[in-house]
Symmetry: C2
C-alpha cells in the first residue's frame, strides 16, 4: 500500500464524504449501497475501503457532521453576540439556514444537500445509541450556546427578565428541525420565521414590562440588524 501524505488523506476523505452526502441527499441512507458510494466518489473500491469499511461508518460520520458541525458553527456565531435580544438569536439561526452553504471544518457544504441528509439522520438517531448520544451532545452544546447568549441579552435588559434562559433555549432550538425540514421538503427559506421573531420578540425587556420606552426605538445596537 503506497504511503500518502496527511493532506492527501484528508482530501480523499473529503471527496468520499462529499460524494456520500450527495448520494444520501438524493436516495436516502437506506436506498444507498456501498457500490453507489464508491461510484459517486469516482475512486477505486480499494482506495474507498481504506477510509470507510462499511456504509454504517459513513452514515455515522455524515450524521455526526449534521449534529456537531452545524451546531458548532451556530454556537460560534452566537458567542460573538454581546447582548442579543431573543429575535437576534433567532435571526442567527434563520440567516444561517437561509444561506446556500455552511462551513464545517473549513469546507463549504451545500445546505440543500445537508438539509435532506439531516432529515434522514434524525431517523438514524432513533435506532442507533451511539448517534443518539452524539446528537444529544450536539443539542446540549447548542442549548448552552443559546442560553448563554440569552443570559447576556438579559443582563443588558434586551431579553425579558421573566424568561428562564434554559426554557428560551428550548424554544429557539425547537425551531431548527422545522426550518430544516421545510427547506428540505418544500424549499421554503426561513425568512418568514425571522420576520415573525422580529415582530414578536424584538421589544427590549423594559418595554415588555409596560415601561414608556417605545418598541419602535432604533435597534441599531442589534449586532444583526439589517437596517
Amino acid at each position: 500500500m503506497p504511503r500518502i501524505s496527511d493532506e492527501r488523506r484528508a482530501a480523499n476523505r473529503a471527496v468520499i464524504l462529499d460524494a456520500a452526502r450527495r448520494c444520501f441527499a438524493r436516495d436516502g441512507f437506506h436506498q444507498t449501497s456501498m457500490p453507489d458510494l464508491v461510484a459517486e466518489a469516482g475512486i477505486s473500491a480499494g482506495a474507498f475501503y481504506r477510509y470507510f469499511a462499511s456504509k454504517e461508518e459513513i452514515v455515522r460520520e455524515i450524521a455526526h457532521e449534521t449534529f456537531v458541525n452545524l451546531a458548532s458553527g451556530l454556537v460560534a456565531t452566537l458567542e460573538r453576540l454581546d447582548a442579543p435580544s431573543v429575535a437576534d438569536v433567532v435571526e442567527v439561526i434563520t440567516t444561517a439556514l437561509s444561506a446556500a452553504t455552511f462551513t464545517a471544518d473549513g469546507r463549504e457544504i451545500d445546505l440543500d444537500v445537508q438539509a435532506r441528509v439531516a432529515v434522514d439522520a434524525w431517523g438514524a438517531v432513533l435506532r442507533d445509541e451511539g448517534l443518539r448520544r452524539e446528537a444529544g451532545q450536539g443539542l446540549r452544546r447548542f442549548d448552552a450556546g443559546i442560553a448563554g447568549a440569552l443570559a447576556r441579552g438579559q443582563a443588558a435588559g434586551r431579553v425579558s427578565a421573566g424568561l428562564d434562559v434554559a426554557d428560551g433555549a428550548a424554544l429557539v432550538v425547537s425551531l431548527l428541525p422545522g426550518l430544516i425540514l421545510r427547506r428540505a421538503a418544500f424549499g421554503t427559506d426561513a425568512s418568514a420565521v425571522g420576520r415573525a421573531a422580529a415582530a414578536l420578540l424584538d421589544a427590549p425587556a423594559a418595554t415588555r414590562t409596560g415601561a414608556h420606552r417605545s418598541r419602535t426605538l432604533p435597534s441599531a445596537s442589534s449586532p444583526l440588524s439589517q437596517e
Copy 2:
C-alpha cells in the same frame, strides 16, 4: 371470499394500522418487512393483503395520518380559541405534544409511537411526490388554522398589530418538528417551550407598544390558562 360488515372491515383496518405503527416506531419504515407487519397484526396473510397490497401502501397511509390527522386535531382545537395570544396558540401545540395520546378518526393513538413514526415519515416525504403533496396540504391547513387564530387574537388586541399572521404561523408551525423530534429521540416533553412562549409572547399587544397596562394583569381570559 366471505362478506364482512363495514364495521368489521374498519376494525380490521385499524388493527393492521396499529400494528404497522408499532413496527415502524420500533424498526423504521425501511427495516420493516411485509411478513413483520402480518405477524405483528396477528391475522392471516390472506386477510392482511385484502387491506393493503404492499408495504408502500401502508407506509403511505401511516405517513398520511402523521401529516393530516395530527394537523386536523390541532386545527380543530385552534378554531375553538376566540381571541388567543401567540402564547395561547403555542400552548395548544405544546399541550397536545406533551400528552400520552392523541385522537384521530375517533381512535386513541400513542404519541410516543406516533412521534417516532413521524420522523421516518419526514424522510419518506423527501422521496415520494404523492406524500410530499399530502404533507404540503396538511402543512397549509395547519398554517391557515394558526394564522386564523392569530388574526382573531390580533383583532382583539392580544397579538401585536405589527405581526404578519402568515409569518406568525410559519414561526409557530416551525416548532412542531423540533418538539416531535425531541420527544422521539430523547423523551423530552414540550413544557419548557410552553413556558418560554408564555414568558416571551403572552404580553397583550397594548403592552407590547409601550402602553401602561402591566403584563402581570390576570390572564384569566386566556382560554388555555392553567392558573
